[in-house]
């Protein structure tokens, strides 16, 4: 805070109109453009069809007769609740799996100090640079041979490949910030390594665990290409895939229900995000700085 007041004092020679043009105006424009698609999504969701395609008689930026018909149709005439449940299941399971694996790996790399720890850390970092776009074809053949095709298990097992590298690096950073002396004390008191991890390191790394957890959850919720390639039956699809493949039928797009689906599919992560904003920002920037 003291930084910003100092900065304010320095910049106070700048006149108010100049600040308005160089600072507030561009900032307002940025915020407007970054948020407008969400506003448009929301407003379309509540528009009746009569208003949706009639810009002459109705101002498109507002709803005159808001309706829940689109949401109603989505919830009760499609398998939308099923898709939500599947997505939730896949996101939670893969997050738990990824966090479990990452905690152990990060602990081993950062605290067990074995030879080659840095090499393993680097290898895991490089794994983050292998994008799903070049893996989905061979993975599809593997999933098929393992008999996992069209099963949520295929997603739960493959999502950790892009979650683990990120979480491991995030947690290595967190473990690094915990004083090693604490562990030494426990070692002298006769605690085993796993006890130390469970009783001392993990409780101190809770912020890191939350960051890694919400990040993994969001990434799993948003994942698209694996879910598109590995799942074929309608009721097992995840929300992003289902909206694109099940709600888009023929040439006439039902924009109302498409937007309702997008809005409802975005809400869980948006709500989740609003509770943990600071964790998101710290994990995002922490991972980049690490």
């Amino acid at each position: 805070m003291s930084n910003s007041t100092e900065e304010g004092a320095i910049l106070s020679w700048q006149s108010a109109p100049r600040r308005l043009v160089t600072l507030y105006l561009p900032l307002a424009l940025f915020v407007f453009i970054l948020l407008f698609p969400f506003y448009w999504m929301t407003i379309t969701t509540f528009k009746p069809n009569a208003e949706l395609y009639d810009y002459k008689n109705f101002n498109p930026f507002w709803v005159v007769h808001p309706t829940l018909a689109n949401i109603n149709k989505l919830l009760f005439e499609t398998s939308y609740p099923r898709w939500l449940m599947t997505t939730m299941l896949v996101a939670i399971c893969s997050t738990v799996l990824a966090i479990f694996a990452s905690v152990l790996a990060a602990y081993a790399i950062q605290r067990l100090r074995f030879r080659g720890a840095n090499a393993v850390g680097l290898a895991i970092y490089i794994a983050y640079l292998v994008p799903p776009s070049i893996l989905f074809i061979p993975l599809a053949t593997m999933v098929f041979q393992l008999g996992l095709f069209d099963s949520p298990l295929a997603l739960i097992l493959t999502y950790p490949t892009f979650l683990i590298p990120f979480c491991t690096w995030l947690l290595i950073g967190y473990f690094k910030s915990i004083p090693y002396e604490l562990e030494e004390c426990a070692l002298i008191d006769g605690a085993s390594r796993l006890q130390i991890l469970r009783r001392i390191t993990l409780p101190l790394a809770v912020p890191g665990l939350i960051s890694a957890g919400i990040f993994s959850f969001t990434l799993s919720w948003n994942e698209f290409i694996y879910a598109l390639a590995f799942i074929s039956s309608s009721e097992k699809k995840t929300v992003p895939v289902a909206i694109l493949t099940e709600l888009v039928q023929g040439d006439v797009y039902q924009w109302g229900s498409l937007m309702a689906g997008s809005l409802l599919g975005s809400l869980p992560v948006a709500i989740f995000y609003s509770f943990f904003v600071d964790y998101y920002v710290s994990s995002l920037t922490g991972a980049v700085k690490e």
Binding site: V31, L35, L112, P165, L228, T285
Partner: protein, 319 residues
Amino acid sequence: MADTTAAVPWNPRRSAPGALARLLDNKAFLVFLCLLPAVGLLLVFLTYPLGLGIWLAFTDTHIGRGGEFVGLENFESLWYDQVFWNAVFYTVFYTLVATVLKFGLGLWLALLLNENVPFKSLIRAIILMPWIVPTVLSAIAFWWMFDAQFSIISYVLVDVLGWRTSYIDFLGTPWHARWSLVFANVWRGIPFVAISLLAGLQTISPSLYEAALLDGASSWQRFTKITAPLLMPILSVVLTFSVLFTFTDFQLVYAITRGGPINSTHLMATLAFQRGIPGGQLGEGAAIAVSMIPFLVLATLFSYFALSRRKWQQGGNDE
């Protein structure tokens, strides 16, 4: 618990721990056990498929039947494939243009947010929204905004501002579609760049700016002599990730145009998907995906050297 072991050291249950406990105290075994889940998952579902993908690229595998080794046949047919070269061109174009715009605008936004503005943390929070929301879902919103008949952008340009006389066919002609997708990608990418760079900006000590101000440096000089050099390490890391993920982008294009009109907006990833999964030619799809690897290796090396330079700059405080 520590008390009991110290007080009764002769307790046979304590002095002769079970085989499992002894194993867990063996460091080599413990390291192995801790790394097993992460490394195991990555080896099975990342390293092996990477190798398998390269192998598939040299076979004629189809869905439902194993393939045989065909050498460079897939790459040869791609070499004469106009659609493939279109995809390579558009992937490079999309990556270059979107990255330049994302970083230009993202840096600008970061500099604005680094000023003393009211509701800073709230603005920072809502600005990240495009990055948090599932890409496909915001892409569908863009699809609707790019609609030929009911686009809200056209409505504003034609009916409100009167700058144009006809509605724009955003996704109907190749170049319009290409720029529309770049726009959507930039929209989605700005928050990540801005927030990362903002974190970098906040680590720069304000006393440097004070000193420069006292020495009479202009704001442009302060930017080029203080901000830019100190921001460079974090900028290069963010840049590498951004280039990597833009180059291998799939969702936006698949959701909005699916490669159309007339294959003009296919990225290498969407083309690989189209040939590989719905088309069933896994070998050819894998060959397209493998063609992306050289570009990715270049980006990775760039990242590696940027990182090592960073450690040196910080006085090598790492390990």
